[in-house]
């Protein structure tokens, strides 16, 4: 009798995640056919049934499979790009959160790449190349956390569903409870902050985000929420302090970088511009708008350095701005004007020679003729 009870208890408390995987349809999205086959083998080892596994060779294929086959479990390689992942997650957002599981595989072993994975809100993550056993263990752990959540996650999920239903009071109670359950319940503070935001209790909301950050200084959601709140309240200096941290930790986001550059100038944090320039250099995609921002910021920084009598650094800053190449004639004019204003005519001539030799030659010719 006792044995029967024990076995019942066991099946209730520790269900096998592999059992749950067997019933699920899986999408494997990977550009590389060899790697796709490799992942297929690993998926079978994990317990997925072959007939329920769908392979996508490109983004369109992947989106069609999600739409047409009702797949909610995705093994996604970032060779497909982050935009397709966003599109898949948008499609999956219509499903019940518990049924969705997205696992990301990435070859980008940089802080920026992993930071991007954090922001994409996938359920699990693994870097390539990996050892097979390590991958399987990581996949199963992440899946268990999602499909068979612990008490903290269970209460948090319940609160989230109440929040989405608009039952703010009940949601708040559940988030309060969750705060006592997790070892580092920053997410509970984040959602409690959202409830307060919806109740328009801005100060209380800020306190919640602050608590979340105090518990975890790199908690992405709390940092983003704190920034949004302060920025909406037009607290420029304060919001910039949060923004510079966000860009420092999660640098792979063009819009955010542009905003950081603008706000660095606006708040007089000129020395940050050098860091933002490094972040700009690290970006795979460099839009024209971003280039203009970088050029403008470096040019203003150059002028500031002239004012503080740091000539060499100022010249370096102008040179960097002009090397980026956006609106070169505008920024060259600005640099020349700045140098002349601070009595550096010779340096201005050299700068023109270096960046617009034709114009410099024409000027020299005119001077000679005169």
């Amino acid at each position: 009798m006792q044995k029967a009870r024990d076995s019942n208890k066991k099946s209730l408390t520790a269900p096998d995640p592999k059992e749950a995987l067997r019933d699920r349809k899986l999408l494997i999205a990977d550009l590389d056919p060899v790697h796709r086959t490799f992942l297929l083998k690993l998926a079978c080892d994990l317990g997925f049934e072959t007939r329920k596994i769908f392979l996508a060779k490109d983004g369109t294929d992947a989106l069609n499979i999600v739409k047409d086959e009702g797949v909610t479990t995705v093994l996604y390689d970032d060779s497909f790009g982050i935009r397709t992942l966003d599109a898949i997650q948008t499609l999956l957002s219509k499903e019940t959160p518990e049924s969705v599981f997205v696992f990301l595989i990435s070859a980008n072993s940089s802080q920026a790449g992993v930071g991007r994975a954090v922001e994409s809100e996938v359920d699990g993550f693994c870097l390539k190349p990996f050892a097979s056993e390590e991958f399987k263990s990581e996949f199963l752990t992440s899946f268990s956390e999602k499909a068979l959540p612990d008490e903290f996650r269970r209460v948090l999920n319940l609160g989230k569903s109440r929040l989405y239903e608009g039952d703010l009071e009940q949601a708040e109670k559940l988030f309060e409870k969750a705060k006592d359950l997790g070892p580092s319940p920053s997410s509970a503070h984040f959602y409690a902050g959202q409830v307060k935001l919806m109740k328009r209790l801005l100060e209380e909301s800020r306190q919640e985000f602050m608590q979340g950050i105090l518990l975890n200084q790199i908690h992405c959601k709390c940092l983003k929420a704190m920034f949004d709140l302060l920025y909406t309240q037009k607290k420029i200096d304060e919001s910039y302090e949060v923004l510079r941290r966000l860009v420092g930790i999660f640098p792979d986001n063009l819009e955010r970088l542009q905003l950081a550059i603008r706000m660095a100038v606006k708040t007089g944090n000129f020395f940050d511009i050098l860091t933002w320039f490094e972040v700009y250099e690290g970006q795979e995609e460099k839009t024209e708008e971003l280039q203009k921002h970088v050029c403008a910021a470096l040019s203003i920084f150059g002028r500031y350095l002239l004012m503080t009598e740091k000539l060499d650094e100022a010249l370096k800053s102008f040179d960097r701005a002009l090397s980026v190449g956006a609106k070169r004639e505008v920024f060259l004019t600005y640099a020349v004007e700045s140098l002349q204003k601070y009595g550096r005519g010779a340096e201005a001539t050299e700068l023109v020679k270096a960046h617009d030799p034709e114009f410099a030659a024409a000027l020299a010719g005119e001077a000679k003729a005169a």
Binding site: D32, S187, L230, G248, G268, F270, I300, Y334
Partner: protein
Amino acid sequence: MDRIQKSWIEKEWILVADADLARFTALSGLLDQIGFPRERIVRGANASEALALLIEKNIQITFIDESFGTTAFREIHADLARSFGELGFFMFAITEGKTPDFVQFAAEARIDGVIFRPYGGDQFQNRVAEVFTVKWPNRVIETPETRESLHINGKSDEEIFEKALEKERRLGARDPLTPDGKISSIFGLKSVSHPAVTPGKASFTRVRLAFKAVARNGTPLEKTFPIHALEIDENQATFECASDIWELGDHVTIEAEIGHGDENYVMRIEALVHNDAGAGHLTVTFDKGNRTRFEAAMKMMAKRFKELKDFFKYAKGA
């Protein structure tokens, strides 16, 4: 009753947009009693008159009646928002609740207050004074000019330079993970020290991995070719490999480069072709002897991956 400070509004004009003259007169009296000087209250009898007054007198305080209609309400609100920013003006609506979209727009536009007619004079005055005293001293004006200055326009700004100089003196050089204590203490930012997090250029540094097959059974290959690791640990690996020259039991010499930051390992490792894992794959087991460097490189890679994995979990939270 006079809770609205004279200094706040002595230079301001107040627009009451109401089609009904008698109602306007009564309303002006009520407003006067709580501190809005009657002589500075003007009436817009219709939408175009109201819009003209807004421009002519640079008005930032408005009361709009439902009789004006939702379209005029939208236009007046848009004009004020354009001129002073969403948080830079005061707008109060009076409604009988007859036009649902009028009330709906008031809610959507988040204007400062709505009151339903009929109301008592005291009730109206208390409500207006209450919201005005909170809003007016805290309003944030954002004119088209200040909005423009949010964008970098390439012009110098001495004020900004002064601010920068003060910051430079106070804070010196700091990275994005070191907060300005004076500001950050308000919302809990402290310095971050996580092994996976290094701001700036270093945040884009990846673990470098490059493998090349250079010899087969001790004979150098005429043409070496890169092979791409699908899975790897200290003992075995599966590579993506387009060549089909390999046979079970072959010895393969692999030139490997594994590095991160300043730590770089370049080495040759010997491996035995382990099995035929299928087209495009090359599965090997590494030779047990003479591979100290390889083990050190793998350890370095595992350490970095672990740091990044921890960063992912920690930054994501539950």
